[in-house]
Symmetry: C2
Subunit: 157 residues, 2 copies
DNA sequence: TTTTTAGTTCTTTATTTACAGAACTAAAAA
DNA sequence: TTTTTAGTTCTGTAAATAAAGAACTAAAAA
């Protein structure tokens, strides 16, 4: 039914797209958005038109449109065009991966600032909790710094 | 209306709990679960009973029960008891913070394995995409390693 | 100028989520 | 033994989400 190690076989590919889509849902994406992601991860060539995506996923235009625009919004995908072809060819913007990791790190960093502010305002009646809170804040700062370092180091590679 | 730098004033505290609750919602928790978190972050003493939480938040028993059990499940909070007192005193399990960071890192790690498997099965027709995918996988592995290192380093401190 | 293409936007519907409130339960206290 | 406590579980509901399908639109092609 399928040959070699590649996803030549359509049914096999469709199942892979579904399976990886389900795994990707844990990152908070909708089923269709997750399948758009997994399709573009597996597809060859790696860029597909709106209608190719829609048809492959057997989903409605509105669902695909919303999913694509969501991904475009957060930088997960991007598109390119070809001269004399009005269609947009969507692809996973893997170059953008680091930026998205940075953005997540920033969320953690910002929340750490909130916790620092909390600690500053707490009374001295609960020293043990305060110490643990300080420890978590320091750990998180330490970790955020390591993540930043990793990103910088990777960039200059 | 309020004095010093502490959250002496109830209304002020309630507003802080709401505000930090809203910030915490971005990590995918429900409104009530987020407020349980922020209340236990700000509360003094740092451990509160079911009913204290319920009353402070002005929420239903079922909502608080579900929120608490969710937090107990993922290790965000824990409880202690006191001899001769049947109530459970819930508190933020800050000691568990690192473990939860580890668990998130594991999610990323697992998904990276999925991507590695995808790369292995892709044909050689789209070298550029494959190279970028390899780069993302390597970056993510590098980052995961840094996170692990940070956790280990912090543990032996 | 009409028609097709490549989508977007609007309307409707099914499902899920978040919560309230009431009914329930098991252990402890009275 | 009855009653209270400290919750849990069940039932109902309002609101939010996810998606289908149809109507729409702007640009390009015929």
């Amino acid at each position: 039914m399928h040959r070699n190690n590649t996803y030549f076989d359509m049914d096999n590919l469709k199942q892979r797209v579904e399976d990886i889509g389900v795994v990707y849902e844990q990152f908070g994406k909708t089923p269709i958005a997750s399948r758009v992601f997994s399709f573009l991860l597996l597809a060859e060539p790696s860029y597909k038109t709106f209608d190719e995506i829609r048809e492959f996923l057997n989903a409605s235009k509105s669902a695909v449109s919303n999913a694509i625009n969501g991904h475009l919004q957060d930088g997960t995908i991007n598109y390119k065009t070809f001269s004399g072809d009005r269609k947009r060819y969507f692809y996973l913007d893997l170059e953008n991966w680091k930026k998205r990791v940075e953005e997540y790190a920033k969320k953690l960093y910002d929340f750490n600032n909130v916790m620092e502010d909390v600690l500053k305002h707490r009374s001295n009646n609960d020293i043990e909790f305060n110490n643990e809170l300080k420890d978590v804040i320091d750990f998180q700062n330490f970790l955020n710094q390591k993540i930043d370092e990793a990103i910088i180091k990777w960039k200059e590679k």
